[in-house]
């Protein structure tokens, strides 16, 4: 069983409209190695991830190998994104013009604070509009969106006296559980069904229709409880907030890809729709969607196609929201764009394939990354968006074995291992402030050893000696060693060195002319 309580106690709940998330900011998270130790103690999470990541990886291989032009699709996806990002100003201006022509209102936000201020203003204005003689509830319904999580929008709305209801099943579990998401596609993957049942029984009644008393832990019944709980919120919704998977410059069309229909409910039933869109989401034309609507579902949920995809191009007379707003957010993206190496990460379409295949993520889970973006993409994107000044952001580029599995599954061919190394370089540079850093010293010493045959021979001889001693004691690897070697060995076993070096073996078994003895 998990050592963590299902619901952490929170004294402030009484004053709040929505369940309180865990206290503290992402930026103040402990370093990845430190938090990993905590996460590894969560047996429920480890078991869930072990099963779930295996299942989804196997399914992904099935549906991607079924498409005989999969590699061509990846090349096309990469090229379309590069084409757009390399002239992002031009495509954003075209998008702004098309959105406006379609009847949407475009807003620009430099950072999270500005975005939240715009959103709060829009929601307040929309709720102030008289709706018959009934006062509107101070609430919004939300489509699952990484951009709104990145800017911590729910808490900004809460502070403004507006309740933001998550409607995706996993996000609902996370919200009602006073928790944080641990995966970008299946945010509650660290919870098992009996925990979900308990969260629903404890919390649903505080915020709307209670869970049925006889609720069991079958996923089908848990989903049915969420359907009933959220239905009343959908049916009375005045304002909905979404993200967008794609924004088409040519037409001003926004696209949301989803599974449950909660997205369609929000996009269709509300009177006002506010969409928060990262500036990197723009693609040139409607036709480009044929590439991404093949790449995304197969890489993400590992299905040929996700259940529902919605396109909307401004408001439509007599159908859906009559006011549509789009908030284009930078929030660090232009900093990523400024790095000619690092900008490849902006191609990301948030599918989660790299997370699902990452051996480090599978063991540790998402919370250790200290960001809404975990896994390999999080380890390269977050430190670029936020900089490497915080302890957690300086640690995540090291949260990888550089095995390279992620690069093969990325639908837009982001060179994740190269970017991880690039980010490590940036971390070292930032830490050094011009002074030599421990990594530099280590590399310089290594350079001296490898650069001189005499020193190398002496070093290998000394190391082989320790190997012989260890093996006498039947030890085949080093465990944790004292500081400063602990910096390396705390997270790694080092194999015991061989009894003799290759040179010593060669000299023993060969004549000077190279013929075997």
């Amino acid at each position: 069983m998990s050592k963590r309580p299902v619901r952490p106690s929170n004294a402030h709940d009484a004053d709040r409209l929505t369940p309180a998330p865990p206290p503290g900011r992402f930026l103040d998270s402990p370093t990845f190695p430190k938090q990993s130790k905590v996460e590894l103690g969560n047996a429920v999470q480890r078991r869930n991830l072990y099963d779930a990541m295996r299942t989804i990886r196997t399914k992904r291989v099935g549906v991607t190998s079924e498409a005989d032009d999969w590699e061509d699709l990846r090349l096309a996806g990469e090229a379309i994104k590069n084409r757009t990002l390399r002239h992002l100003d031009r495509y954003l201006l075209q998008l702004e013009e098309s959105l406006t022509a379609a009847g949407s209102t475009v807003h620009w936000a430099r950072d999270a604070e500005e975005a939240n201020a715009i959103i709060v203003g829009l929601v307040n204005a929309a709720l102030a509009t008289p709706q018959g003689d009934q006062a509107s509830a101070r609430e919004v319904v939300k489509v699952k969106s990484m951009a709104t999580q990145e800017i911590d929008m729910n808490e900004a709305l809460e502070e403004a006296g507006i309740a933001a209801w998550e409607t995706d099943l996993a996000e609902l579990i996370v919200q009602l559980g006073h928790d944080r998401p641990s995966h970008i596609l299946v945010p509650a993957i660290h919870r098992n069904r009996s925990e979900v049942r308990q969260i629903f029984l404890d919390e649903m009644g505080r915020y709307g229709r209670p869970a049925p008393d006889d609720l069991d832990s079958e996923p089908v019944n848990l989903a049915a409880a969420a359907r009933l709980h959220l239905r009343e919120k959908f049916l009375r919704a005045k304002v909905a907030i979404s993200g967008a998977n794609f924004a088409v410059a040519e037409t001003g069309t926004l696209v949301v890809v989803e599974s449950e229909g909660n997205g369609r409910m929000c996009l269709t039933l509300a009177d006002t729709l506010i969409s928060v869109v990262g500036i990197e989401k723009v693609i040139p034309s409607v036709a480009d969607l044929e590439v991404f609507l093949q790449l995304l579902p197969r890489s993400s949920t590992a299905e040929r196609m996700n259940p529902y995809t919605s396109f909307w191009t401004g408001p439509t007379d007599g159908d859906g929201p009559q006011a549509t707003h789009v908030v284009l957010i930078d929030n660090g993206r232009t900093k990523v764009l400024a790095d000619p190496v690092g900008r490849d990460a902006l191609r990301c379409i948030r599918c989660s394939a790299c997370i699902n295949i990452c051996p480090v993520y599978e063991k540790v889970g998402g919370h250790a990354y200290g960001s809404v973006y975990p896994g390999p993409i999080g380890a390269v994107l977050t430190p670029q968006l936020r900089g490497v000044a915080s302890a957690v952001d300086a640690s995540v580029p090291y949260a990888s074995t550089l095995c390279g599995a992620c690069v093969d599954v990325c639908p837009v061919r982001i060179p994740l291992p190269d970017l991880l190394v690039h980010m490590r370089h940036k971390v070292v540079e930032a830490k050094a402030h011009g002074r030599p850093h421990a990594d530099d010293v280590a590399m310089r010493v290594t350079g001296k050893v490898l650069g001189s045959p005499g020193v190398w021979a002496a070093t290998t001889k000394a190391i082989s000696g320790t190997g012989a001693v260890l093996k006498k004691g039947r030890v085949d690897h080093f465990g944790p060693l004292p500081w400063p070697l602990s910096l390396w060995t705390n997270a790694r076993d080092v194999p015991a060195p061989p009894n003799e070096s290759f040179r010593a073996w060669y000299a023993r078994t060969h004549h000077k002319d190279g013929s075997p003895r």
Partner: protein, 212 residues
């Protein structure tokens, strides 16, 4: 004070100082191509069924088949968008199922109390088992095919194309015209709890495709 818009655009231009103005990335892709498949309709049927949805070829009278489908799902009320085949509407009326029109628009509450919806579609794709609505005549506004729990969708055989590229190509004119588009692949579903697939969350829990 610089506006956020101008500042973001200036930041982008500064960030892209290394990119020549005439730089264009070639996209190595031929758009809108059909995918080679065996029998389109067989494949479409198989792939819709893969999602746990019902799919059925109509051999007899269409109206009677629609009524059979509705009754099989225990439907007592149905919303019918304007523009449906009158023969289908008549058959449903004669079967004693309560028919609600959407002119004037039904309230959300009434729609929620309605068991089912019958629509046509704009195009369908075999490889992914997808139906696409552009909410034209016979399809109704988006809420109609969303709120009721049973969706019976009539797909004409000549609307079935091979795969996503052809579906997108067919939807380009409607998208340019500003129409909303909805892609539906099976009933609503989730895998959010332990990655265990559950069919039926907020959207219609039953999708019944009639291939005409």
């Amino acid at each position: 004070m610089t506006s956020a818009r101008d500042e973001i655009l200036a930041r982008i231009r500064a960030s892209l100082a290394d990119v020549p103005a005439d730089d264009e990335t070639d996209v190595p892709w031929a758009y809108g191509q059909p995918r080679r498949t065996d029998d389109l309709l067989d494949l479409f049927e198989e792939r819709v069924r893969d999602y746990g949805a019902t799919v059925q070829r109509v051999t007899g009278h269409l109206g009677a088949t629609v009524v059979e489908a509705l009754l099989a799902h225990g439907v007592t009320s149905v919303v019918l968008p304007a523009g449906l085949d009158p023969a289908v509407v008549d058959a449903i009326a004669q079967a004693g199922i309560v028919i609600r029109g959407d002119t004037p628009a039904l309230s959300r509450a009434t729609l929620d109390e309605t068991d089912a919806v019958v629509t046509t579609c704009a195009v369908a794709g075999a490889v992914t088992g997808t139906i696409v609505l552009d909410h034209g005549p016979g399809q109704g506004r988006r809420a109609l095919s969303l709120v009721p729990d049973v969706h019976v969708c009539l797909v004409a055989a000549d609307q079935v194309v091979s795969d996503v590229p052809e579906m997108v190509a067919r939807m380009v004119p409607a998208t340019r015209a500003g129409r909303p588009i909805t892609w539906i692949s099976g009933g609503s579903a989730t895998s959010d709890i332990e990655l265990s697939r559950v069919e039926g969350v907020h959207g219609p829990r039953t999708l019944h495709v009639l291939l005409v």
